[in-house]
C-alpha cells in the first residue's frame, strides 16, 4: 500500500518535473565531466548523453544524511545531490539503470530504489571526495533509516567512483 502510494507520488513528481524541465535544455558541461547519463533519457547535451560537471550537479540542490555503512563501523555524514534529482534532470524514463564506476565495477539499480531517496555523495564528513577516497561520486543509501537496506543486495548498490548511469 505504502509502496503504491510512494510510486504514485514518484510518478506525478517525475511527470511534473519533467514537464517543467523540458523547456530548459541541459547546458553543456563547463568543467570536467563527473557523470554521464545515457540510455532512455529525454535531456541530452553531449553525443546523446547527459553529461554533468561538479557545478551542474551542485546546482541540482543539496541532499545529506548521516548513516553507517558496510565498509566501516562508524557513522559518517554524507553530502551531495539527490540521485532522483539527477535522473529527473536528465529526464530518465526507465525502470532500472546500470551504474558503472571508474574501477569498472557495475551494478544494476532499479529506479524503484528512489523511494529510499539515495544520494550521490560528493562529501563525506565535510571532506570533498577524491578519486583515492572512493570519489568523486558515491551512491549512498540511508542505510540506518531503513532496516531493509541493511542487506548485501543493497550494500552492493553503494557504488563508489561512479561515473556512468545507463537508464534502461
Amino acid at each position: 500500500m505504502r509502496y503504491v502510494m510512494l510510486l504514485g507520488m514518484l510518478a506525478t513528481l517525475l511527470a511534473g518535473s519533467s514537464a517543467a524541465q523540458a523547456a530548459e535544455t541541459l547546458p553543456r558541461p563547463q568543467g570536467p565531466v563527473l557523470l554521464k547519463v545515457s540510455g532512455k533519457i529525454e535531456q541530452t547535451n553531449v553525443d546523446g548523453e547527459a553529461h554533468f560537471d561538479r557545478q551542474m550537479l551542485e546546482a541540482l540542490g543539496k541532499a545529506s544524511f548521516t548513516t553507517g555503512s558496510a565498509l566501516t563501523d562508524k557513522k559518517q555524514l554524507f553530502e551531495g545531490v539527490s540521485l532522483r534529482a539527477v535522473l529527473e534532470r536528465a529526464g530518465a524514463k526507465g525502470s532500472s539503470m546500470q551504474a558503472s564506476a571508474l574501477n569498472n565495477y557495475k551494478i544494476q539499480i532499479p529506479l524503484d530504489d528512489m523511494k529510499y531517496e539515495p544520494i550521490i555523495a560528493m562529501r563525506v564528513d565535510g571532506q570533498v571526495l577524491k578519486l583515492r577516497d572512493k570519489g568523486p561520486l558515491w551512491i549512498v543509501y540511508p542505510r540506518d533509516a531503513y532496516p531493509e537496506l541493511q542487506a548485501q543486495i543493497y550494500d552492493s548498490r553503494w557504488i563508489w567512483q561512479l561515473n556512468k548511469l545507463h537508464v534502461e
Partner: protein, 714 residues
C-alpha cells in the same frame, strides 16, 4: 466442585502444552534467525573479491608504470599512473578498514598491507609531479611486491574461509539437530493440543446436543404451561418469547407478540412499576409483585408477576412469569375485610368489657367488704383497699402476696385453724370466722369460680359477733339463774325441812303431853324449837345476803386495814362459839396492811373458818397462815377434815352447790360462792386445794395498801 478441579487441571495441562509449543517454536525460530544473521554477514566471497580486485588494480598499476617507464605517452586518462594509483589506493584503503581489516589481520598480512599503503601514499606526490623512469620502475617493483602480498592474502583468506566454513558446518549441524529436537517438541505439543481440541469439539458437540435437548424440553414446558404466562424480553423491552399461557392471560397470540415492543402488546407493560421491574430484571435483580386492574367490563383482575434476570449467550435478558391470581386475591381481600370488621368488633367488645371491669372494680373498691381474686395457682389478680387494710395483711404481707401467703397472714388470728397454714393449689373452699384485731371479727370466705379463679371475701362481722356474744352471755346467765334456783330449791328442801320438822315434832310432843310435861322436858323442847328457829334465821340471812349480792346491793368500801389483827379478832370470837376447835396461827410479826372492805373480808374469813371447823368432825384442827408476796398479801385456811372429791372441786364455788361429802352437815351452798364474789370485788381471788378425806386448803389474796409495805415485804 470435583468437576471444577478437573477442568482446572485440564486447563493447566493445555496451558502447559501451549507453553511448550511456544517455547520450542521460539527457540527453533531463534536458532534459524541466528543462522540467517550468520549467513547474511557471511562475506568471505566479498573479501576474496576485494583482494582479487586490489590485486588486479596492482597489476594494472604495474602495467601503467611499465608503460610510463617505457616512455609511452598520450594514453587515455584511465591508463595514467595517477589514475591507477588513486584507484589502487582506494582499493587498498577498503581492505584496511572495517570487517575486511579484521580478516586481513587474521591472516597476519595487515602490517604488510599497511606498509604498502604507506608507500603508495608517499608515491602519490611523486607520481603527480613527473617522476622519472627510474622512479617509475622502482615503484613498479613495489607494486608488484604488493601484488604478491595480495596473492598470498587471497590464498590465506581462502584457507581461512575453508577452516571457518567447516566449523560453521558443524555449528549448522548442531542447529539442525537442536531444531529437530524443538520440532519434535512442537509436534508432540501440537498433537496434544489437537487431541484436546478434538476432544473439546466432541464435548462441545455433546454439550450442544444436551443444550438442544434442554432447549427442546424448556420449549415444551414453556409452550405447554397453560396456566402461567411466560414472557422474555431484552433491554429494549422487546418481546423475545411469549408462551401460549400468555395468550390465556393477556389474549395476545405468540406469533403476534414476539419481536414487538412490550408496551405495544398490552397497556400493562406501560405501567411504571412493571417497566421498573423489567428494567431491574435486566440489571440482575429479581422482583415479585401483584398488578391489580379493572378491565373494560368492570371485572377486577389481579396478576402475580415474577421477574427474574436471565443470561443467554452473554446477553442480559429478563423473564417474567405471570399468573392470574384474581380468585385468591379476591378471597384475600374478603378475608382482610372480615378481619378488619372482626378487629373493630373486638375493639368495641374490649372497650365494653373494660368499662364493665372498671365498673366492677369501682364497685368492689367502694364495697365495705374486702375482696380479692387469685388465679388457680394462687397468684394475686386483684385485691381492693379493704383487703390491704385488713390488719394481718397490712402487718405481714404487703409484698408479693399470693394466696398461701395471704392465708398464712390470718393463721395467727383467733379462730384460725390448720387449713389456713396448709393451703396449696388446688385450694379448697374455706369459710372461717377470725378475730383479726381487738374487737373486730371478720369472716374469711374462699370460693372458687369455674374452677379457675379464686375469690376471697373478708366481711366484718363484729356487730353480729357482739350481738351473738350478748345473747350467749344472756343465755348463760339465764341458765345460771335456773341452776341457782334448782340448787336453791333442793337446798331449801333439805335445809329448811329439817328445822321445820324439829319444830313440828317438838310442838306435837308438847301438845300431846300437855300438863304431863315436866318442866325440864318442856325447857328441853323449847330449847330445841329455839335452835331450829335460829337455824332457819341463819338460813334466811344467808339467802338474803346472796340475793343482795346478786342484786348488786353490796357496796365495796375499801380502806386500809391490818389483816393479821382482823383475822385474830375473828378467830377469837369464833373460838368462844366453838371452844372445842384447835385454831393455830402462822402469821408475820409485822403488821400486814391491806386495802379492803374489812366487813366483807370478815365474812370471807368467817365462812372459811366455820367451814373448816364444820367439816372436821369431833376434834377440828384449823391452821391459819398469813404472808406477803410481791405487792399482795395471802391468807390460807387449812383443815384436815373430810375434804372435797376431785371431780367436784371446779363446782365448789357455784351457788347453792354442796359437795357430796357434805351431806348430813347443815349448809346452804352460798358461803363459798359469796366469799369468791367478795374476793372478785376486791380484785383478788380465792383458790382451793383439797383431797377427799385429806382436808382442804383455801387461799385468798389481797393487794397491799402501799408500795412501801410491798417493798418491805419483798
Amino acid at each position: 466442585m470435583k468437576l471444577n478441579v478437573k477442568n482446572h487441571k485440564a486447563g493447566l495441562v493445555t496451558l502447559l502444552a501451549m507453553a511448550v509449543l511456544a517455547i520450542c517454536l521460539s527457540f527453533a525460530v531463534a536458532r534459524l534467525f541466528n543462522i540467517e544473521r550468520d549467513l547474511r554477514s557471511e562475506d568471505t566471497h566479498t573479501n576474496l573479491w576485494m583482494i582479487s580486485q586490489s590485486q588486479f588494480e596492482a597489476v594494472l598499476m604495474a602495467e601503467s608504470l611499465a608503460r610510463y617507464a617505457g616512455g609511452e605517452t598520450g594514453t587515455q586518462l584511465e591508463q595514467t599512473p595517477e589514475f591507477r594509483l588513486a584507484i589502487l589506493i582506494s582499493r587498498i584503503s577498503v581492505l584496511l578498514e572495517g570487517p575486511q581489516a579484521e580478516v586481513i589481520n587474521k591472516v597476519d598480512l595487515l602490517g604488510d598491507l599497511k606498509t604498502a599503503y604507506l608507500q603508495l601514499t608517499l608515491a602519490e606526490k611523486m607520481v603527480d609531479s613527473n617522476m622519472s623512469a627510474e622512479e617509475a620502475r622502482r615503484l613498479r617493483g613495489q607494486v608488484r611486491e604488493l601484488g604478491y602480498t595480495l596473492q598470498a592474502a587471497a590464498n590465506e583468506v581462502m584457507l581461512l574461509n575453508r577452516t571457518e566454513a567447516s566449523a560453521k558446518r558443524e555449528m549448522y549441524m548442531q542447529v539442525v539437530l537442536e531444531s529437530f529436537a524443538f520440532l519434535t517438541g512442537i509436534v508432540i505439543s501440537a498433537a496434544f493440543l489437537l487431541l484436546r481440541l478434538f476432544r473439546g469439539i466432541q464435548e462441545a458437540n455433546r454439550a450442544k446436543e444436551l443444550l438442544q435437548q434442554e432447549q427442546e424440553l424448556s420449549n415444551l414446558v414453556i409452550n405447554n404451561v397453560s396456566n402461567q404466562g411466560i414472557v422474555m424480553f431484552d433491554e429494549n423491552q422487546e418481546c423475545l418469547l411469549w408462551n401460549p399461557g400468555m395468550e390465556g392471560v393477556l389474549n395476545v397470540k405468540p406469533d403476534m407478540a414476539v419481536g414487538r415492543l412490550m408496551q405495544e402488546l398490552d397497556p400493562l407493560f406501560a405501567k411504571e412499576d412493571v417497566v421498573r421491574s423489567f428494567r431491574l430484571a435486566i440489571e440482575g435483580t429479581s422482583s415479585v409483585f401483584e398488578d391489580e386492574a379493572t378491565d373494560a367490563d368492570g371485572q377486577q383482575r389481579c396478576l402475580e408477576i415474577n421477574c427474574f434476570p436471565v443470561s443467554m449467550a452473554h446477553r442480559k435478558l429478563g423473564i417474567a412469569f405471570m399468573r392470574d391470581v384474581t380468585e385468591q386475591w379476591l378471597a384475600r381481600k374478603q378475608a382482610e375485610r372480615q378481619n378488619f370488621d372482626l378487629e373493630i368488633k373486638i375493639l368495641q367488645r374490649t372497650a365494653a368489657l373494660r368499662q364493665a371491669e372498671r365498673r366492677l372494680i369501682a364497685a368492689i373498691e367502694s364495697a365495705s367488704e374486702g375482696f380479692a381474686a387469685f388465679d388457680w395457682t394462687g397468684k394475686l389478680l386483684f385485691a381492693n383497699e379493704q383487703i390491704w387494710a385488713a390488719a394481718p395483711v397490712a402487718f405481714w404481707c404487703r409484698e408479693e402476696m399470693s394466696l398461701p401467703v395471704f392465708l398464712r397472714c390470718f393463721a395467727m388470728c383467733e379462730g384460725a385453724d390448720q387449713r389456713l397454714l396448709v393451703a396449696q393449689p388446688p385450694f379448697d373452699e374455706i369459710e372461717i370466722d377470725l378475730l383479726i384485731k381487738k374487737d373486730v371479727w371478720a369472716r374469711l370466705s374462699i370460693t372458687k369460680a369455674d374452677g379457675a379463679t379464686i375469690f376471697v371475701r373478708l366481711t366484718d362481722i363484729s356487730g353480729y359477733k357482739q350481738v351473738a356474744n350478748a345473747l350467749q352471755s344472756a343465755l348463760d346467765r339465764e341458765r345460771e339463774t335456773t341452776d341457782a334456783y334448782r340448787n336453791f330449791v333442793s337446798m331449801v328442801s333439805h335445809q329448811f325441812r329439817t328445822p321445820l320438822a324439829i319444830l313440828d315434832s317438838s310442838a306435837q310432843r308438847i301438845l300431846r303431853r300437855g300438863p304431863n310435861l315436866t318442866p325440864d322436858e318442856l325447857s328441853n323442847r323449847i330449847q330445841k324449837i329455839r335452835n331450829a328457829g335460829t337455824r332457819l334465821t341463819r338460813l334466811v340471812e344467808s339467802v338474803l345476803n346472796a340475793a343482795k349480792l346478786d342484786a348488786g346491793r353490796i357496796e365495796l368500801n375499801p380502806e386500809p386495814c391490818e389483816l393479821v389483827y382482823l383475822i385474830m379478832d375473828i378467830c377469837e370470837r369464833q373460838s368462844e362459839l366453838n371452844s372445842h376447835a384447835d385454831i393455830r396461827f402462822d402469821v408475820p410479826e409485822l403488821p400486814v396492811k391491806v386495802y379492803c372492805d374489812s366487813m366483807l373480808i370478815e365474812q370471807v374469813v368467817l365462812n372459811l373458818l366455820t367451814n373448816a371447823v364444820k367439816y372436821s368432825g369431833e376434834n377440828p384442827v384449823v391452821e391459819i397462815k398469813v404472808w406477803t408476796e410481791g405487792a399482795r398479801a395471802f391468807c390460807s385456811v387449812r383443815d384436815w377434815g373430810i375434804g372435797i372429791p376431785a371431780d367436784e372441786l371446779p363446782k365448789i364455788f357455784d351457788r347453792f352447790y354442796r359437795a357430796r361429802t357434805a351431806s348430813g352437815i347443815a349448809g346452804t351452798g352460798i358461803g363459798l360462792n359469796f366469799a369468791q364474789r367478795i374476793m372478785h370485788l376486791h380484785g383478788g381471788d380465792i383458790q382451793v386445794e383439797s383431797y377427799e378425806a385429806g382436808g382442804s386448803l383455801f387461799t385468798f389474796d389481797l393487794p397491799l395498801s402501799n408500795a412501801d409495805q410491798a417493798q418491805q415485804a419483798a
